[in-house]
Point group: D3
Chain length 136, copies 6
């Protein structure tokens, strides 16, 4: 099984609802350094899992739609806590949609699974990993 990983980051404000969050119920923020992994059994005719240039462009576009925002005001997350786990899943869903739309190239449809990891500090991170359905 082959994997290719690219890294980028985004910076947001948000707050959490629920006593479990303690002081993180206040409006605060985070930098998320994002590792995006693409996984498939074989390589394309160029010898690649995915066009790494396109992969970086798509990741930048997906994170750009979240970057420099207050997530408490984003309709996409209305009524939900934007924990690192929830954001990892949201980035995953948008990357999978980009694969389905062909934004990563036709060869990218052979990608079998994707993993998105968000590092929120030097001591904590969260990730979501899932299969990419062949039929979009």
């Amino acid at each position: 099984m082959y994997t290719v990983t690219v890294r980028d980051h985004f910076m947001i404000a948000h707050s959490f609802k629920g006593e479990a969050f303690g002081p993180a119920q206040r409006l605060h923020g985070a930098t998320y350094v994002v590792d995006l992994e693409f996984c498939r059994a074989g390589l394309d005719t160029d010898g690649m899992v995915v066009d790494i240039g396109r992969a970086g462009d798509v990741l930048r576009a997906v994170l750009g739609a979240l970057n420099y925002r207050n997530l408490d005001e984003e309709p996409a997350f209305a009524g939900r806590n934007t924990t690192t786990e929830v954001l990892a899943r949201a980035v995953f869903d948008r990357i999978v949609a980009a694969i389905g739309d062909g934004r990563l190239g036709p060869g990218a449809r052979a990608i079998e699974s994707v993993r998105v990891t968000l590092h929120e500090s030097h001591v904590a991170s969260a990730s979501f990993e899932g299969r990419v359905s062949a039929e979009p």
Copy 2:
């Protein structure tokens, strides 16, 4: 599948028995930087894999019971080499016990697997990963 990871460290002395260990048969020591990963299919009602504050506290407590010690004199490891692999397993077992005891909260019982990685230097690490049995 969701994963949350927290990091902490501990510092110990020990020695190894067996020619394979060469100069590491002498009394020496190590800093272990520990990555603790919790894995489960869904999130709790707060949108979390595990309460990350509790996770950090439990990891600190488990490592605190090993920290600043000579493992050659610890009854828990009598007659065994405390290799990085063995220590990763020992930390895993104690984290799983903490989940079973409810020290990570009732929601943590939904955790399906745990992975413990010990980084012993910038060029070497070891880990143990296993399932968390639902019935403690």
Copy 3:
């Protein structure tokens, strides 16, 4: 010249005023991973630059007063952009005050300079370094 460095982090929301900041004029946030360096020519009688336990406690207390906050509402920064540079200086000032107050122990008065580095992502950081005046 000896240096000791300790690391911790804090997470805040803020916005910037000025066209130079582009989309960062919107309310967003950041995780800052902080490296705090203490520098002096000699060591104390224990062989230390500073009691590293106290150093970590003081850093945690200083960052705790900023952590999980919206800096746009903090009186200490009223009318100023809380750029990474400005925050590095603010942490520096508070650490120097802590040295003066004896919170790092009497030996810490021999510290000659302090450097505070804030890493805002895997690709950007800022720092402030200055001398610690012997007379508080």
Copy 4:
């Protein structure tokens, strides 16, 4: 499941064929920082996944056969793009051959899978992971 990881690096020149590679079609080069992971269900009688000294020696030897070379002139890669993915697989194949030859010791035959990750920069990496067949 236990894993042990060792790290080393190599530095090569190469070029790629195919429009997808853009400017990387020109002769250029890379440093690859390599993480080699060995995985097995149990430990040997010394408490190890693999003799970590031997593992480091074998990794150095395998990378030494690639280090300081122009891969465009290496017969092993004739007619192929030496992408990070292809090189991860090549290192994997040579490590598996070393296990089969006994160069990692007789106990290493219990290794079930191997993963090779090549970090080509601070923002990109590729890996190949596969099972080690018991019958060489």
Copy 5:
């Protein structure tokens, strides 16, 4: 004294002349992860050492002129070994020229010194640090 640091990378092929280089006399290559530090005593009216967006753009442009090239064929380095030290100096000179040309904005003329560090692997790096003359 304030410092701001931005990071990027470039990938090149080259060879060295001289017995001291051993196997590195062969054509090989490297990834250089570059840390560019700007240093000045005060901040501009926005609270910055330098416009970090412009800093990143200038660094990308400077490294882009070296990226994906065989340095043995670059006239700028004719007759010289492109060691990591020499390349750090070359990047420094080009950054200083960019400051003089106003490509980092008018405020950047207050920058007093610049440091360029090239990381060639996880275990080796080189840097050049020098003052920026006020008169271009």
Copy 6:
């Protein structure tokens, strides 16, 4: 000013005397990841600060004399606390002696200063920096 840095590590046991050390008064241990920096104004005729191969060999030899040892039993440290600061200074002194002995080559006598940093964990380090006297 040019700097070249090489990295290696060593693993030791020790204990500290003095109430300030709390639980670190017990026998424990540490991994120290060591960054060794050489600094000089100009380059040698090969374009180097120091022969990086020799630098790595000398660092390995110096750390090898400390590696896998209980520093409480080393005569070189009798009656002293082997804090990270003290060990950084000890490595510095041995590197300076190696320069004086010509073990880094004749060109290395132009090195003006050396800095040794010991990382004891992901959150703490200490360093010693000093000038290298031209007359050994």
